[in-house]
């Protein structure tokens, strides 16, 4: 039985030149496979969104006392049973705000620039509003995640917000 016209011979050619050649047919099929990969990726995002538990409202946690952060100063902290870094900011207006310290662009650490009422990401010159966490400038696509800050006497507590976007 002759193997001359078998399709598999195209995949295992003898000459190196033929082995390196990608025909337009193969390229078109490759595009369809990559397209399938995109569907898979999109499906994973949808599945994660569907199964993730966003009703979770964390308990109040004490970060520090009022005196520990000077005006214009910040304090980094992590919540219990969590590794995500957060930053507590004492603004010049006397308010306290807490945000996730990871930039929404490429997860660089953000910091408060005293006197500007803005949070800066130095990696790609991204800026956020310290009051809302909204993006003011630069490449970040989303606002910073915000925690709810409450003052009880001199003590400062933070808490995950409810499901609604904060």
């Amino acid at each position: 039985m002759s193997n001359e016209n078998k399709h598999w011979k195209e995949d295992f050619p003898i000459n190196r030149g033929e082995a390196n050649q990608v025909s337009r047919r193969d390229f078109a099929k490759l595009l369809a496979v990559v397209s399938g990969g995109m569907v898979l990726g999109n499906g994973l995002i949808a599945a994660k969104a569907f199964f993730s538990d966003d009703e979770e409202v964390g308990e109040k946690q004490k970060v520090c006392t009022r005196n520990e952060i000077p005006v214009g100063g910040t304090k980094s902290f992590v919540l219990k049973n969590d590794t995500v870094p957060y930053i507590l900011i004492h603004t010049e207006e006397g308010e306290f705000y807490a945000y996730e310290q990871k930039c929404t662009h490429l997860s660089c650490a953000v910091y408060y620039k005293p006197g500007t009422m803005k949070i800066e990401c130095p990696c790609h010159n991204g800026w956020f509003d310290v009051k809302t966490g909204e993006v003011l400038q630069g490449p970040p696509p989303r606002p910073l995640k915000k925690l709810v800050v409450t003052l009880v006497g001199e003590e400062i507590f933070v808490q995950h917000p409810k499901t609604e976007n904060v």
Partner: protein, 79 residues
């Protein structure tokens, strides 16, 4: 009995190149739209807008199926 593809090749033996280029351009366009859908899904899901993740998944799936069916029109390779 000839099907559409055989008929297409018989009717347009000189136009394989054009057909192939068109197919690839359409597939590439599909892929670009899917990349944009993936980016949008990710950003919106992280922002808490889950419904965007579902709708972009369906749109991406439709584009994939369209692209796969599109392959049926690939001209046969020249022996």
């Amino acid at each position: 009995m000839s099907d559409f593809r055989t008929g297409q090749e018989n009717a347009h033996p000189q136009k394989k190149s054009m057909i192939m280029s068109t197919l690839i351009v359409v597939l590439l366009t599909n892929l670009l739209i899917q990349i944009w859908l993936l980016y949008t899904a990710l950003n919106n899901a992280l922002d808490g807008h889950k419904e965007v993740a579902y709708s972009t998944f369906i749109a991406s799936l439709v584009l994939f199926l369209a692209g796969t069916i599109w392959l049926y029109f690939l001209p046969k390779s020249v022996k």
